[in-house]
């Protein structure tokens, strides 16, 4: 019997777009000696004391389930961390869930708050998972484009213009992947007014909170009137260099917590016990290492931003994360052409901006989470590449003129 698999599959799942990053991954992974500025994770290995704590916990036999919400010990450390670092106060007993990466936390948040057809504003350029997660939860993602003139920071006006009767929530990510932009307290306060005016919720992805360079990071939940309507999402991946651990957490008013915990216990049960024990160590004792990683990223950011601007790939100075988002418009190429040709001709991998949303077209995401030697070599190659393209663009325009 011949099976028509199309007929078996979920309509929602079929309609999900494959991530544009996938194509670049396949292409870059098939080549040798590629310098990659396409990596969305730290170039540091997890601090040893965290790894050691996990090894020890396995030696001690901590291989069972934990409470659904996570080890109480870890939830207590998380609340202390959120309170001391960001001034937001939660109860470890009924407001924190330890999740499988921040990604699962975002999924939980959308599943908990969305009804069929509810709209969620996604500030673009945006991390590739948000819109699909909204769709999977039955909601409708609505893009809010930001402008390079404002350093890709979303404004209250842009948000207000996108709000409809069906708008339920907005996803904010600051510092942002892919642009690195960070919203200041004042900017957040303005945005908060609109959110309150239209009675919206915020799913706040604060995974890059530890990686802010010029100003102190401000949590959305710390803005007046926002605590009650914010699902705060953070995790260990970026700041503590623990991407492969898949450990995140969320903090929210207990009414949200209860519903999200229900979903979490049915889908996931709990995050891995031994990894949670490593995370306890991370929050207790590795702050100096987090700080030294942050300093290292900041120096590399300074180098990248200035060097790219000098060579004519204009970019704003991102306040956080480990990405710069330069414009490649001057080359006359599309993001995709630029990234593809750069990879083929100079073996440097970057991510074309359009995969993060329409407003990312004309830009590329360069991660500077790689060694200075690699960055210097990569920028040398990019320089050579755009010089070559510059000539190409000129001769094209001459041809046009000659006609």
């Amino acid at each position: 019997m011949k099976h028509d698999y199309e007929h078996y599959l979920s309509q929602t799942a079929k309609e999900l777009q494959p991530s544009g990053i996938r194509k670049f991954f396949d292409l870059a992974a098939s080549m040798e000696d590629v310098i990659s500025l396409g990596v969305g994770e730290p170039d540091f290995v997890t601090p040893w004391s965290i790894r050691e704590a996990t090894i020890l916990s396995m030696e001690q036999g901590f291989t069972s389930y934990t409470a659904n919400a996570g080890l109480l010990e870890l939830r207590e450390e998380i609340t202390t961390y959120l309170a001391t670092r960001f001034g937001v106060h939660y109860d470890p007993n009924n407001q924190i869930i330890v999740t499988i990466g921040a990604s699962q936390a975002i999924d939980l948040a959308f599943r908990a708050i969305l009804n069929q057809g509810d709209e969620v504003l996604i500030v673009e350029p945006a991390f590739v998972s948000y819109a699909p997660l909204v769709a999977i939860a039955g909601g409708k993602p609505v893009a809010v484009s930001t402008s390079p003139a404002n350093g890709f920071k979303v404004t209250a006006e842009q948000i207000e213009a996108a709000i409809t009767e069906k708008t339920k929530a907005i996803l904010l990510c600051s510092p942002n992947n892919p642009t690195g932009s960070m919203l200041t307290k004042d900017e957040l306060t303005e945005i908060a007014e609109i959110i309150q005016k239209y009675d919206l919720l915020v799913v706040s992805d604060e995974i890059y909170a530890e990686l802010s360079y010029d100003e102190d990071f401000c949590s959305v939940a710390a803005i007046e009137g926002m605590y009650e309507r914010t699902i705060l999402i953070n995790g260990f991946s970026k700041g503590f260099a623990m991407t492969g651990w898949r450990l995140g957490f969320l903090a929210a008013p207990k009414e949200f917590f209860q519903v999200m915990l229900k979903i979490h216990q049915y889908t996931t049960m709990c995050a891995p016990n031994m990894l949670q024990r490593g995370a306890v160590e991370a929050l207790r004792n590795t702050y100096p290492e987090v700080e030294s990683m942050r300093n290292s990223y900041r120096r590399r950011r300074n180098y990248m931003v200035q060097t790219l601007n000098q060579m004519g790939l204009v970019c704003h100075t991102p306040g956080g994360a480990f990405y710069v988002f330069p414009s490649i418009r001057s080359t006359g190429l599309s993001s995709e052409q630029f990234a593809e040709e750069l990879l083929m001709e100079e073996k440097v991998a970057v991510v074309p901006g359009h995969v993060f949303g329409e407003s990312g077209e004309g830009y590329i995401r360069c991660s500077y989470a790689t060694s200075m030697e690699q960055l210097q070599e990569a920028l040398k190659r990019i320089q050579r590449f755009i010089e070559k393209k510059g000539v190409y663009a000129d001769s094209q325009s001459e041809k046009v003129k000659a006609r």
């Binding site: 670049f24 992974a29 300093n295 120096r299 300074n302 991998a349 790689t370």
Partner: protein, 168 residues
């Protein structure tokens, strides 16, 4: 000596990688190349930047392996100058690569490098132990270096980039 935050930033950058060009350091520290050049010159002059040592794993080079010993030395301190005079004396020997005053069971900890065990034995018996005020020496030969000045000699996989080439 009180340094500005800019000077400290420059120190931190070259401490991690002294092979960076002045231009790169300036971009990283967000200052002018001239500031970098002047700062480095000043800090070298003030002996805050002591030297730019190169860490070589000689054990990998045939015929250059060499021998290292750590020697615990008990000395009689001298009135007025304490341990400084004898320490100064010992530090003049080129064989001595490091020298520290320690708390605890002995006074000075010395690292001595030589080509052979015999050479180090000769240094200890003929030079070190004959110095006035040196009461006793205990020599420990180093068998293998695992880590030196923060650098692992066999760092396993920590240096390897295991990350996927492109990720979201």
């Amino acid at each position: 000596m009180q340094l500005s935050s800019e000077e400290i930033e420059i120190l931190k950058i070259i401490e991690e990688n002294h092979k960076l060009s002045v231009e790169s350091i300036a971009l990283m520290a967000m200052c002018s190349e001239e500031t970098v050049r002047n700062t480095i010159e000043k800090l070298e002059y003030e002996k805050i930047i002591m030297s730019y040592p190169t860490l070589i794993d000689w054990s990998k080079v045939e015929g250059q392996e060499g021998v290292i010993a750590m020697i615990d030395v008990k000395v009689t301190p001298k009135r007025g100058v304490g341990f400084d005079e004898v320490a100064e004396r010992i530090s003049r020997f080129p064989e001595v690569s490091s020298l520290y005053l320690m708390s605890g069971a002995y006074d000075l900890s010395i690292t001595v490098e030589g080509k052979t065990m015999n050479q180090i034995a000769a240094f200890v018996s003929e030079k070190l132990s004959t110095i006035e005020n040196v009461v006793s020496t205990t020599t420990h030969f180093m068998l293998k270096k695992y880590k030196h000045d923060g650098v692992s000699f066999n760092s396993g996989n920590d240096d390897k980039d295991w990350r996927m080439v492109v990720s979201p």
